[in-house]
């Protein structure tokens, strides 16, 4: 939590003035029982109606003044907490975007989004409560005891003696329930996860006739959640009765002692009434404290989750400025590059050394998990090589500012993902200030222009989240147009045309070639038909390049390539 107070700095005024006004409200409220005691002692004893009415007026005035103070405090609290949350949210979002993929992959999108919304909301509530109640509740307790010292210090000692007992009760309950609340949350997640599995795997579960076992699994998980809930209930149901019994005992003792002291003539009836009132004030304040403790526990957990993200230093440093690449150097070069997704795990790429010339079309083929996609994702630095160097235009990729490096590369990812907005918006992702003509040209090359122009709203047609309102083939063509619009030096198509039929696909490839002769194109695919026309084909197997050359050459020299070809076409077709 401590580290996050930086975000409160801007709201220092609110954070100081808010509690001060709350403090004033509490003072006004604490004075009420004392005034009431005066009213009963002097007013009733002396039979002075005017005095009673005057004091009544004072009490109403104080109540209103208190309300005014509360009003101001609540306003400051709202401004400070919401402002804090807003700033923190911006900072966390910015941090998340700056993380490398290996860092953000560890969390997953839904966890990260939850932290931006739920966790920060929790902290926002915490700040508001701090300003509104954190000062008020203890102050009411301490103030009540102080005020009672003015009335009669003997009786006040009784109230004072009760405080450690009350503190002990709060401590005991919190200590016992806090871990239970945490495990309850975990068990709730477990119930949710069994449920999700059952929803997504219903065909398999029913195919294996496992409905009964799954019901049993759910029941176990559900029962364990219920047991945990009951355990919380057993302890927390003690809180109210215990604290109020403690305060009630105080009242009985005050009456007992009061009786003795009144008998001696040191105490008036009005004072006893005031005492009882203060005891009740303390009780009410304690109930608020118990609610606060739950909020604090939850907020601490949320703060830890936020700090976990804010503490991550983006592990992909991007230099502020870098050298210009040389136009004579090869477009891309891999020098003895190895890479593993996990430090201990298996290597996805091993000792890759290749050079790709400017304007060359490279086909990249290989089995699932052979390292094809990993190979191309090292170029835009989605990941950094574990060993060796990746160079673009003769400069190691690490020396370019990320922004500049990625501007050189247009990538079409495997998963055709579009974003909410219009078609033109989506294509402009590649280049924010692209002219309308550039957008149209990119769409034409990507073979998307035809279907876009048939839409009633053309390029302004809305795109739903993820591109859900377009077919797989249309989505792919739009993502290709998005990559083409900036006319990148290197174009990477990572299995990007799997949903296109062969005719469209070959049209697409010729259009890309015709558009530019200097653009370097990397075609990643599982289909021999797509890569066979490339200038050179890299054959990946198990993280290594096992063959490199034209289709014809590889058919003769590379057994893996031959095997792949023959799994997709007949001998005669492959030999063509």
């Amino acid at each position: 939590m401590g580290k996050l107070t930086v975000y409160l700095k801007k709201y220092r005024k609110e954070c100081i003035l808010g509690p001060i006004f709350k403090f004033l409200e509490a003072i006004f409220e604490l004075l009420l029982p004392t005034i009431m005691a005066l009213m009963i002692n002097r007013g009733v004893d002396r039979r002075d109606e005017g005095y009673v009415l005057r004091l009544g007026g004072v009490m109403v005035l104080m109540a209103l003044l208190g309300y005014g103070c509360a009003f101001i405090c609540q306003y400051f609290a709202a401004r400070a907490s919401q402002g804090f949350g807003t700033d923190l949210r911006n900072a966390v979002f910015e941090r998340i975007l700056s993380l490398s993929f290996s860092q953000s992959d560890r969390f997953g999108a839904s966890t990260l989004t939850n932290r931006i919304t739920n966790d920060i909301n929790q902290l926002q509530l915490f700040v508001a409560m701090m300003i509104r109640l954190m000062i008020r509740a203890p102050f009411i307790c301490i103030g009540s005891i102080l005020m009672s010292f003015f009335l009669d210090w003997h009786l006040a000692l009784i109230l004072l003696a009760a405080t450690p007992v009350l503190a002990l009760i709060i401590w005991f309950i919190t200590k016992r329930t806090a871990p239970l609340y945490r495990s309850y949350q975990k068990k709730l997640d477990a119930v949710g996860s069994v449920l999700r599995e059952n929803l997504s795997g219903v065909r398999v579960i029913r195919a294996f006739a496992k409905t009964k076992q799954e019901t049993e699994r759910f029941r176990t998980s559900n029962d364990s959640l219920t047991d945990n809930g009951l355990a919380i209930g057993r302890i927390s149901s003690l809180f109210n009765p215990l604290t109020s019994m403690a305060v009630n005992l105080v009242i009985v003792v005050i009456l007992w002692e009061g009786n003795i002291r009144m008998h001696v003539g040191n105490l008036s009836q009005g004072q006893i009434i005031a005492f009882i009132n203060y005891a009740n004030q303390i009780l009410l304040a304690l109930l608020v404290v118990s609610n606060l403790i739950i909020i604090i526990t939850k907020s601490m957990a949320s703060a830890a989750r936020i700090n976990e993200i804010m503490d991550l230093q983006p592990d992909m440093p991007s230099p502020a400025s870098g050298p210009e690449g040389s136009a004579d150097a090869p477009a891309a070069e891999f020098r003895d590059v190895s890479f593993g997704y996990h430090e201990t795990g298996e290597r996805a790429l091993e000792n890759i050394t290749v050079t790709i010339a400017r304007g060359e079309t490279i086909g990249i083929i290989g089995g699932t998990g052979s390292g094809k996609s990993t190979f191309v994702s090292l170029l835009p630095r989605f990941y950094d090589a574990t060993a060796g160097t990746v160079l673009i235009d003769g400069i190691p990729v690490g020396q370019y500012p990320l922004e500049k490096l990625r501007a050189k590369i247009g990538i079409v990812p495997q998963h055709a993902l579009l974003f909410t907005g219009s078609i033109a918006d989506n294509i402009r992702w590649g280049c924010a200030d692209a002219e309308e003509e550039a957008v149209r040209k990119a769409a034409r090359i990507a073979q998307a222009a035809e279907f876009i122009e048939k839409l009633p709203e053309g390029y302004d047609s809305p795109v739903d989240r993820g591109g859900a309102n377009f077919s797989g083939g249309q989505r792919q063509r739009l993502t290709i147009a998005r990559a083409l619009v900036s006319d990148p030096e290197i174009l990477i198509l990572d299995d990007a045309s799997s949903a296109l039929d062969f005719l469209t696909d070959s049209k697409l490839r010729s259009a890309i070639r015709e558009n530019s002769s200097t653009q370097t194109v990397l075609l990643v695919s599982q289909r021999v038909g797509i890569v066979r026309g490339a200038d050179r084909i890299f054959v990946f197997d198990d993280g290594k390049i096992v063959g490199c050359g034209t289709h014809r050459a590889l058919m003769e020299s590379c057994p893996t390539y031959r095997e792949i070809c023959l799994s997709q076409m007949t001998e005669e077709e492959a030999a063509k």
């Binding site: 009673v52 975007l97 009242i251 089995g367």
Partner: protein, 581 residues
């Protein structure tokens, strides 16, 4: 709304004993809590009256006060304890019933509804019901007893004072109510704004690769900041207004406190009330206002509970699958003879899908089904497995109508591999022996080897004991598919269904798996659905489906010679391999 409540009451009605005891506890603890101020008033008056003499009744009266307090708190504890128990048990029961219901719902439910929504009904809605109904119910009980009891106690003291207290309490109730209704509108605005922010953040974070690839970070940040600024505006307003609710009721209560004090004092001056009486009334004024505030909260809680209950009951009221036959037929030594006899079926009544479909599959033969998306290939499997029931005609296995068997009995005759891999949260080994939890390790290993999965499993850090999260951790789609294939290999069923089983695996790996499948399908009736034709070349019979009908049928060579739809489909995938560059 009324019906929903009646139905909900049936659920807590289960715990009639606890419920009655809870109501009784509420009564006792409220009455005791109300009795205490009366005794305090008496005590103060007793002391005053005794003057300089010792008040003789002190021990007796104070002991009574102590007992009343003790009694009040014990029953308060009992009330808390019981409502907690009832609440958690009701939740448990509702969740269990919901889950059991899921087990008998037809597959259409799973295909039509958003899973996130169903999960939310299980978790959030059920919780809201428990909170709203039970806490609300109990607060209501306690409130009613307190209000009625307080009126009775106060009347015995002084009717005029009672009138003042009774009039002052609802004032705070209406103040709170006024603020709540206003802040609710603001809360809805805030929730909408938060939803928008959540959606935007999720979209950008999910698409983070694309965001960085296209250097969209700055633009994303700007958009996020502006939605966030909007959220700030609505947030400050709604938080400020709603946080006024407490101080506002407090100011009303404080003014009422002053008014009660003034009137009490004046009555005391005129001799119709004692000082102890004032003290009692001051406490009653506080006690009396509390339930009104509680009820404000309870009413909103109950409204949302009713809304959530409707969402839960909606699932519970869905039409289940037709019941199992009373005397189910059981097949021993299934030979694998499958007949589709004049079968018709459609998912949507006015869009016919499969019409008068007949097919006789000889034991041990392999049937491939090919065709465009939406041609009805997977529907055949859905009918065969009784994920959906035929609307006309019937399907027979070894001459027995599949509807006369139990669903589980029927399904255990088939081994099925689907395009979407499904692995549950457990180790790789547990996932492979899903069908046969008693399988030995060497059996698991053999199945994995046959499926070609043994190699990569061994290379994992924890081998067969690697835990799969629901998403399958770091395994590739192809590797996950190999695990599901191993799962079927181990189950060793008499018939097989491969529904696009190798679509997400590359052709090279697929070629290896095909060999394993060849071993598996040997002598077993098998249905292979495929989009990629390379996988169906060796089938005994290939069915080409189009819009619910079989348009062609025969072996690969026969169909190529026919030069019809199949040949067209085949050529589009193979002959254009020679790209025009």
């Amino acid at each position: 709304m009324k019906k929903t409540f009646e139905r909900l009451l049936q659920y807590i009605g289960q715990y009639k004993g606890s419920l009655l005891l809870a109501a009784f506890s509420a009564l006792v603890s409220s009455v005791c809590a109300l009795f205490a101020p009366l005794i305090i008033g008496r005590a103060i008056d007793g002391m005053t009256a005794a003057g300089k003499n010792a008040w003789a009744d002190a021990p007796r009266v104070l002991l009574l006060l102590l007992l009343v307090y003790l009694c009040s708190n014990i029953f308060l504890w009992l009330l808390n304890y019981l409502t907690n128990g009832i609440s958690y048990r009701t939740v448990n029961r509702l969740r269990r019933e919901l889950f059991e219901k899921l087990g008998v719902l037809p597959l259409g439910f799973y295909d039509r509804t958003a899973h996130g929504d169903t999960v939310s009904r299980f978790i959030n809605d059920v919780d809201i019901i428990a909170d709203g109904l039970l806490q609300g119910f109990m607060a209501l009980l306690q409130g009613i007893f307190t209000i009625l009891g307080a009126i009775v106690f106060m009347l015995t003291l002084n009717p005029w004072m009672t009138l003042i207290v009774v009039l002052s309490a609802p004032a705070s109730f209406f103040t709170a109510r006024f603020i709540t209704t206003h802040s609710q509108k603001l809360f809805r605005e805030q929730a909408a704004c938060l939803g928008k922010l959540n959606g935007y953040a999720e979209e950008m974070i999910e698409g983070k690769k694309v965001v960085s690839a296209f250097r969209y970070e700055k633009r994303a940040r700007q958009d996020f900041n502006s939605i966030n600024a909007e959220l700030y505006e609505t947030g400050v307003k709604s938080q400020f207004i709603s946080s006024l609710s407490n101080p506002s009721t407090r100011v009303v209560n404080n003014i009422a406190y002053a008014v009660v004090g003034v009137f009490g004092s004046i009555l005391a001056i005129h001799g119709s009330l004692t000082a102890g009486g004032i003290s009692s009334f001051l406490i009653y004024a506080v006690l009396f206002a509390k339930p009104f505030n509680d009820i404000t909260n309870v009413l909103t809680q109950m409204q949302s509970a009713a809304a959530s209950a409707q969402r839960v009951f909606h699932i519970l009221d869905l039409e289940p699958e037709p019941p199992e036959p009373e005397h189910p037929a059981a097949l021993k030594d299934c030979s694998g003879h499958v007949e589709f006899d004049d079968v018709s079926f459609s998912y949507v009544p006015d869009r016919k899908l499969i019409e008068h479909f007949s097919l006789d599959v000889a034991p041990g033969s392999s049937i491939a089904i090919v065709g465009q998306t939406g041609a009805g290939k997977t529907t055949l499997v859905n009918l065969l497995m009784r994920f959906y029931d035929v609307q006309e005609g019937c399907i027979r296995i070894d001459g027995t109508d599949i509807r006369s068997m139990t669903r589980d009995g029927l399904r255990s005759l088939f081994g099925m591999v689907l395009q979407d891999t499904w692995l549950f949260d457990g180790t790789i080994r547990e996932n492979i022996c899903y069908a046969r939890p008693d399988a030995t390790f060497s059996e698991v290993e053999r199945a994995a080897k046959e499926a070609g999965a043994d190699g990569f499993i061994r290379r994992l850090e924890n081998g067969y004991d690697t835990r799969m999260s629901a998403e399958g951790g770091s395994l590739s789609e192809g590797q996950k598919q190999l695990l599901t294939i191993a799962r079927v290999m181990l189950a060793n069923p008499p018939m097989l269904i491969l529904d696009e089983a190798t679509s997400s695996i590359d052709t090279y790996t697929e070629a290896k798996i095909q060999k394993a499948f060849a071993v598996l399908t040997e002598g077993r009736t098998s249905f292979v659905i495929a989009h990629r034709l390379s996988t169906v070349l060796t089938a005994d019979r290939i069915l080409v489906m189009d819009r619910g009908h079989i348009v062609e049928s025969g072996t690969h060579t026969e169909l190529l010679q026919k030069n019809g739809s199949y040949a067209k489909l085949y050529n589009s995938q193979f002959s254009h391999g020679n790209s025009p560059e």
